[in-house]
C-alpha cells in the first residue's frame, strides 16, 4: 500500500514537474518573441499633371517590377495620384497589404498589377500639381500600418503648383520615421536652361522634408536601385 502511494506521489510530482517545464518553455518562448515590426510599408506618388502625365506607364512599370514583385508577405503598398488636389481619398488608386501566406500574397500581387495597368491606361491629366497634399495623404496611410520601415517614393518633376485656395503646411513630425525618395525627377525646359533652378528646387524640397521630421531624403534617377534601397532599409 505504501509503495503504491509512493508511486502515485512520484507520478504526481512528475506531472507537476512536466507542467512547470511546459509553462516555463512557453514563458521563455513568449519572452523571446519579438514585437519589432519588420514589415515594410511603401507609398508611391504618381504625378499626372502637365508633361509628367506622359510618364504614367513608366511609373507603373517601375512600381510593378521594382516594388510590387519584391514585396514580402506582410508588406503594404499605397499608390496615390498627384493631381490638382491630392489630399483626397479618391486619389488613393490602390491599396495593398500582402497576406503572410506566400501563395495568397502572389495572387494579391497579380491583382495589384492589373489595377496599376488600368491606371496606366486611363486618360488622366491635371492642371495643377499638389505634391504636398499627396505626401500628407500618404503619411496618413503609412501611419495606419504597424510597419517598421516606411518609405515614400515620389515620381514627379518636383515642381509644385498649388491651386490658389489650397493650403499645404507640413507638421514638424509629418514624416517622422519615414524615408522619402524622389524618383525619376525629369528636367523641365527651365531646368535645362539653368541647372541651378533644378538643383535649388530639389534643395528646397530636401529642406522642407527634413524639417518635417523625415528620416532621410534621397533622389534616384535609376529605378534599378529601388530594390536594394528597400532591402537596405529593412
Amino acid at each position: 500500500m505504501n509503495s503504491l502511494n509512493a508511486i502515485k506521489d512520484r507520478s504526481r510530482r512528475r506531472c507537476r514537474g512536466f507542467s512547470f517545464a511546459v509553462a516555463f518553455a512557453t514563458i521563455l518562448l513568449q519572452g523571446c518573441s519579438d514585437n519589432a515590426a519588420y514589415e515594410a510599408a511603401v507609398c508611391v506618388l504618381a504625378d499626372v499633371s502637365g508633361t509628367y502625365a506622359d510618364e504614367k506607364e513608366e511609373i507603373v512599370k517601375i512600381t510593378k517590377s521594382r516594388i510590387v514583385s519584391k514585396m514580402l508577405p506582410g508588406d503594404s503598398l499605397f499608390f496615390i495620384r498627384i493631381d490638382s488636389n491630392s489630399y483626397n481619398e479618391d486619389d488613393l488608386i490602390a491599396n495593398l497589404q500582402l497576406d503572410y501566406t506566400p501563395s495568397k500574397a502572389n495572387q494579391q500581387k497579380i491583382a495589384m498589377g492589373s489595377r496599376l495597368d488600368e491606371f496606366a491606361q486611363a486618360e488622366t491629366r491635371s492642371r495643377y500639381t499638389d505634391i504636398s497634399g499627396a505626401m500628407m495623404l500618404c503619411t496618413d496611410h503609412l501611419n495606419t500600418t504597424k510597419s517598421g520601415n516606411r518609405i515614400l517614393f515620389v515620381f514627379s518633376d518636383m515642381k509644385e503648383e498649388l491651386k490658389p485656395n489650397l493650403k499645404r503646411q507640413f507638421a514638424a513630425d509629418e514624416f517622422e520615421n519615414i524615408h522619402v525618395a524622389a524618383m525619376n525627377v525629369i528636367k523641365l525646359n527651365a531646368d535645362s536652361a539653368n541647372p541651378k533652378v533644378y538643383r535649388d528646387r530639389l534643395s528646397e524640397w530636401e529642406e522642407r522634408i527634413l524639417n518635417a521630421g523625415a528620416h532621410s531624403w534621397g533622389v534616384f534617377n535609376d529605378s534599378a536601385r529601388i530594390p536594394d534601397y528597400i532591402q537596405q532599409l529593412r
Binding site: 523571446c32 519579438d34 510593378k64 517590377s65 514583385s69 501566406t101 506566400p102 501563395s103 498589377g113
Partner: protein, 464 residues
C-alpha cells in the same frame, strides 16, 4: 618654460638656482624616495609575479583536472569496450562451443569408421608354411622313379599342388581387390575427418582471436588504470585525433543543417504563416529550425537506444525490450520527418517557380506557371534531398558523444595554454617593470651625483 623662471629677466640664474635647489632637495629626500620606489617595485612587479604564479597554478590545476577527466573517460571507454567484447565472446563461445560437441562426435565417428576399415584391411588368409617348397620338390621327382604308379601319384600331387596354388592366387587377388575397395572408401572418410578438423581449427582460431583482442584491451585497460604518463599521452593523442575527426563530422552536420534549413524555411511560411517573430526570426523559420533540431534529437535517441552512444544513461539502463521500442519509435519519427521534408522540398520548388513567374509577369513578360524547363527534375531533386538530409543529419549524431568528450579535453588544453600565456606575459611585465624602476633609481642617483659624492667624501672623512 618661462613659468619656471624665478627671475624672469635672468633665465640662466633662475634655472641654475632651480637645478641646484632640486638637487639639494632630491639628495635630502633620497632615502624616502628610494624606499618609495622599492615599495613600488615590490607592489607592482611583485604583484605581477604573484599573478603569474597564480596563473601557472591555475593552468596546472586545469591540466590536472583534464588528466583526471581523460583517465576517467579512458577507463570508462575501455570498460565499455571490454563489456562489449565480453558480450561478443559470450555469444561467440556459446555459438562455437555449442557446435563443438557435434563436430567432435562427427570426428569420432569418422575415426571409428577408419579404424574399422583399417582392421578389415588387415584380415588376410596366410599361406600354409613350406607348402610351395614341397610342391616344387615333388615336381622335380616326376619321371625319375620309373614306377608308373608312383609316377602317376606324383603327377596327381603336382597337379593338385598347381591347382591349389592357382586357387590361392585367385583368392589373394580377390582379397586384394576387396582391400583396395575398402581403402578407396576410406578416402571419403579421410576427407570428412579432415574437414571436421579444419572446422574445429577455425572455431578455435576465432576464439583465440577474440581472446587476443580481449588480452590487448585488458593490457590497455591496465595501463590506463595505472594512470602513468605513457597512458595519459596515449589517451591525449587519441582524444586529439578523435576531436579532429568528430569536429569534421560536426562541421558537416552544421553545414547540412544550414542547407536543410534553407530548403524548408520558405515552404514552412506557407504552412505557418504569421507576422510575429521569435529571436528576430519569423515563426516559420523558427519552426523549420525546430524541425531540424527534432531530427538531431531523434538521431540521438536512435543511437542511444541501440547502445552506440551513452549520452543519456537512463536509456542505456532500460530493459532491452523498452530500448527496442525507442529504436522503432525513433526510426518511425525519422522517416516521418524525412517524408515531411521531402514534401516541403517539392513545395519549395513550386513556390520558387511561381515567384519567378510573377516577377517576370510584373516585368511585363507573358509567362505561365509550368513554362520553365527542367522544373520537374528540380522538384524531384529537392524532394529527394529533403528525404535524405534528415537521415544524414541523424546519422552524424553518432559522433556527438565523442565530440562532447574530446571537445572538453580540447577546451581544457586551450584554456591551460591561454592561462599559461597570461602567466608568461605577467612575468615578463614584472621583469620589465622591476628593471624600469631600477633604472629610474640609477638616474635619480645620477642627477644628484654631486651632492652624493660630496656626502660620501664627508662621511668617509668623518669615519676616518
Amino acid at each position: 618654460m618661462e613659468i619656471l623662471y624665478i627671475w624672469p629677466n635672468m633665465p640662466v640664474l633662475s634655472l641654475s638656482v632651480l637645478i641646484v635647489g632640486s638637487m639639494v632637495f632630491l639628495f635630502l629626500a633620497r632615502t624616502p624616495i628610494h624606499n618609495a620606489l622599492e615599495s613600488l617595485t615590490d607592489g607592482s612587479s611583485g604583484g605581477l609575479q604573484e599573478i603569474a604564479n597564480w596563473a601557472y597554478d591555475f593552468a596546472g590545476k586545469i591540466r590536472e583536472r583534464d588528466r583526471k577527466v581523460l583517465l576517467e573517460s579512458g577507463v570508462t571507454a575501455h570498460k565499455h569496450k571490454l563489456l562489449d567484447e565480453f558480450q561478443r565472446v559470450d555469444i561467440s563461445f556459446s555459438k562455437n562451443l555449442a557446435e563443438y560437441p557435434g563436430l567432435q562426435r562427427r570426428l569420432d565417428d569418422h575415426i571409428s569408421k577408419l579404424e574399422a576399415d583399417y582392421s578389415e584391411c588387415g584380415q588376410a588368409v596366410p599361406a600354409a608354411p613350406g607348402w610351395d617348397d614341397a610342391v616344387a620338390s615333388i615336381a622335380k621327382l616326376s619321371g625319375t622313379s620309373g614306377d608308373r604308379v608312383i609316377e602317376k601319384m606324383l603327377t596327381e600331387i603336382h597337379k593338385s599342388a598347381v591347382d591349389g596354388e592357382k586357387r590361392a592366387l585367385s583368392e589373394l587377388r580377390s582379397t586384394t581387390s576387396q582391400r583396395h575397395k575398402i581403402l578407396s572408401g576410406m578416402a571419403t572418410t579421410w576427407k570428412l575427418a579432415d574437414k571436421a578438423l579444419k572446422d574445429i581449427g577455425e572455431k578455435i582460431s576465432s576464439v583465440l582471436e577474440t581472446s587476443e583482442r580481449m588480452d590487448k584491451y585488458m593490457t590497455d585497460f591496465q595501463k590506463i588504470n595505472k594512470g602513468n604518463e605513457e597512458s595519459i599521452d596515449m589517451l591525449s593523442s587519441r582524444a586529439n585525433r578523435m576531436f579532429i575527426a568528430t569536429s569534421i563530422v560536426m562541421a558537416a552536420a552544421v553545414a547540412g543543417a544550414f542547407v536543410n534549413f534553407n530548403l524548408i524555411a520558405l515552404p514552412m511560411s506557407e504552412m505557418v504563416p504569421a507576422g510575429s517573430r521569435i529571436l528576430g526570426m519569423p515563426v516559420s523559420s523558427f519552426s523549420a529550425l525546430i524541425i531540424i533540431l527534432l531530427e538531431f534529437v531523434t538521431g540521438i535517441f536512435f543511437w542511444e537506444s541501440i547502445g552506440f552512444t551513452h549520452i543519456i544513461p537512463q536509456i542505456g539502463m532500460m530493459q532491452r525490450s523498452r530500448r527496442r521500442w525507442i529504436t522503432y519509435l525513433s526510426l518511425f519519427f525519422l522517416l516521418l520527418l524525412s517524408c515531411v521534408e521531402a514534401s516541403l522540398g517539392f513545395l519549395r520548388e513550386m513556390m520558387a517557380e511561381q515567384a519567378a513567374v510573377i516577377e517576370q509577369q510584373m516585368a511585363g513578360a507573358e509567362v505561365a506557371v509550368g513554362d520553365s524547363a527542367g522544373s520537374a527534375w528540380a522538384k524531384y531533386g529537392q524532394a529527394g534531398l529533403g528525404f535524405a538530409l534528415p537521415l544524414i543529419l541523424a546519422m552524424t549524431m553518432m559522433a556527438l558523444e565523442n565530440f562532447i568528450e574530446t571537445s572538453q579535453h580540447a577546451a581544457s588544453k586551450l584554456m591551460a595554454l591561454i592561462v599559461t600565456l597570461f602567466g608568461h606575459i605577467c612575468k615578463m611585465l614584472s621583469f620589465i617593470l622591476g628593471y624600469i624602476i631600477k633604472i629610474i633609481m640609477h638616474l635619480y642617483d645620477a642627477y644628484i651625483i654631486v651632492p652624493l659624492q660630496i656626502s660620501n667624501l664627508v662621511t668617509r672623512k668623518a669615519i676616518t
